[in-house]
Amino acid sequence: MSLSADPVPAGTPAMSAPPTRGRWRGWFRGTALVPLLAVLLAFAVGSILILISSVATTGHLDPSLPFRAYGAMLEGAGITTDPDAIFSGLINTLTVAAPLVLGGLSVGIAFKAGLFNIGGFGQFIMGALGAAVTGAAVSAWPAPAAIAAALAVGSLTGAAWGFIPGALKALTGAHEVVTTIMLNTIATSVIGWLVTGPFLAPGFSFSRTGDIGNAAIPIILGRNLDAGVLLSVIAVPAIWFLLFRSTLGFQIRAVGANPSAARYAGMRPTLIIIFTMSLAGFLFGVAGSVEVLGNTHFVNASYGTTYGFDAITVALLGRTHPVGIVLAALLFGAMRAGSGLMQITTGIPVEMVDVLQAIVLLFIAANVIVRNVFRIRASAGGLAELETVTKSYSSGAVR
């Protein structure tokens, strides 16, 4: 625990107050400019990488490859002139962005409480498992009841997978960065065991959970956009209200800014930390449930996801604010949705998205690079809450 207790619970970061008229410019420069330029710069660096890669894919240095690769990515994401491609591409983008919104909110709200949720992977796949198993068990129920039951169990499984590191952090001081990563691997083992053992569905050529029947969430748009996207739409204002208009949200932000000060002010950091991590797990659990019930319809023995780590970038790029998270989720949804077409048509591997993510994060963390390249004097590009995350790395329990 830090001794330099700041007496003011600095739980009112710049973005919490909506900017009044005439201050939009200042808000833009202070908050949105650095992330925007970071993305721009990342794509520029990425294009250099693609240019070098062209030696491997085409045999010579091909200056047009970066343009073709990014063009294919845009086309796959629905940003193109072909009307059919626009529709299916945008649907794909939204399908990927919907869980990213939930995941981004999860990581974001944890950051607000001074917690780093790297456990999205485990929470997501455990939520998916819970929903798949319940869905298979209630597949004969009437659709609304079956969906509700599967969704509820899946989300709560995710919440439980978030509760564990929250309770460990609050009560014993075991840092969530290490425990959530361990729980990710443990979740993989648990799924490998349950899907090949107790929940193995008979009659398939590989190990998987049973048919979910009526528990499937109906598709509402295009080929694969299911009604679960509405949950992401609802979650954004809900989390915004919780964070910025409720007492609980104020406590979360106060604990994140300074746990000691929050405790002196009569709050209970222990409970807040446990609650926030459980909520973070719950959000990923919802995302995993929707993914299974609306999209994949079953879980196999080696089920995995990229949403857990993508969500970290989404939350940081969105400055942990719900609105920013939606924008960042749409960006990364588009990149993931378009990366497949990019790999097929230009031979640039889909892992380009991970590389771009790392570069975006680098430029956000080291915003001094961005400010120097573009010669701007934007205010702080970092996040105040993050200090608490690192300070608490080996400081013991919060009590």
């Binding site: 491997a56 490998g192 570069i359």
Partner: protein, 361 residues
């Protein structure tokens, strides 16, 4: 004697513990098992030494896993490409070849470069250290996956083999009581040997040298260290970079000594287990070594139980436990230990806190 053992084994519940001890006593000294315990510990030992170097001087490094993965990949590709250009003849002990040595060097250089990035982000521009580590992890996963598809998949026969192990003289393993331990440590490759060497050297230096005293001072109270004339920034840089050398060796071990190939996500989070080993080992090289051995022991036990199931009621119980849960054992142990259920360890006081000369700390 046999009657006594059977009587002990027959006690309800407690008897199971005796059976477990009896099983371990018969299984662990077997050369294959003992060798495996040391062998699997090597990347954890090097990863943990990287963590000790960083955290003792006040820098949290959760990017060890990424550093290991990147070093493993670069070392493998460097050795593989060089081997295609000019296949090396083995010379000296361990079946050393020029490509293998160059691969190790390339792996170490990769670890150093990434640690310079981490040092710059967390020491100079005082970015958040955990975010910095996360960036390294995501970047390593992304870059290795990207380059793997571009370079390795089109060339499936790439590789330069791997280092051999030293064959143990028969006389040593037949020494009673301790012979199998010496044998397990001797029957290893060059990187494994250097791991054991590094643990001892680092332990002595950290607690018996001027550099060690200064490092610990910088990690506990950088302001006080600065006041007596220690260059905090420089010392932190130097230590994080030395940590990068260890992470690079851990990666090189994975692709150039443990096996001669690379797979995606090769490290499987062992960099994070190494971090846990640092904490369990109370930020000392020897302690981290012990913790690493504990983890590799848990992993090896899983294999051993599959190959030679223990007899009696213990075997029946263990056979009922699904093998996947044994696979999760090291991770569960890590959580249990981190939660302080087995004693509490205190981190260096300034761990994770950037230092600025004039700022309040």
């Amino acid at each position: 004697m046999a009657d006594l053992v059977n009587a002990l084994y027959g006690i309800p519940i407690v008897g199971l513990l005796f059976q477990l001890i009896g099983y371990l006593v018969t299984i662990v000294p077997q050369p294959v098992i003992a060798h495996q315990i040391v062998f699997l510990a090597v990347p954890l030992i090097f990863g943990a030494l990287c963590g000790v170097m960083c955290e003792r001087s006040g820098v949290v490094n959760i990017g060890i896993d990424g550093m290991m993965l990147a070093s493993a990949f670069v070392g493998f590709v460097a050795a593989g490409l060089l081997n295609e250009a000019m296949p090396g003849e083995p010379f000296g002990p361990f079946g050393m070849t020029v490509p293998l040595l160059v691969g190790v060097l390339a792996g170490v250089v990769t670890g150093v470069l990434l640690s310079v990035l981490h040092a710059w982000l967390s020491i100079t521009i005082r970015a958040d250290q955990i975010i910095s580590g996360t960036i390294i992890n995501i970047a390593a996963g992304g870059f290795t996956g990207y380059l793997y598809r571009l370079i390795v998949i089109p060339d499936p026969r790439m590789g330069a083999g791997n280092f051999g192990t030293l064959s143990t003289p028969d006389g040593i393993t037949s020494i009673p009581v301790v012979g199998w331990i010496i044998g397990a440590f001797l029957n290893q490759g060059p990187i494994a040997f250097s791991a054991l060497f590094a643990v001892i050297v680092l332990q002595v230096l950290l607690f018996r040298s001027r550099w060690g005293l200064r490092t610990r001072a910088v990690g506990e109270h950088p302001k006080a260290a600065d006041t007596v004339g220690i260059d905090v920034i420089r010392l932190r840089y130097r230590n994080v970079i030395i940590g990068g050398v260890f992470a690079g060796l851990a990666g090189a071990f994975l692709t150039l000594e443990a096996q001669g190939s690379f797979q995606l996500n090769l490290t499987h989070g062992s960099g994070f287990i190494a971090l846990a080993a640092v904490i369990i080992g109370r930020w000392t090289p020897i302690g981290a070594f012990g913790a690493a051995i504990l983890f590799s022991f848990a992993t090896t036990l899983q294999v051993a139980i599959g190959l030679q199931p223990p007899p009696g009621s213990l075997g029946t119980i263990l056979a009922a436990v699904p093998s996947q849960l044994f696979g999760a054992l090291p991770y569960i142990v890590t959580i249990v230990v981190l939660a302080g259920f087995i004693g509490r360890s205190i981190a260096p006081a300034a761990d994770g806190q950037p230092y600025a000369k004039e700022a309040r700390t």
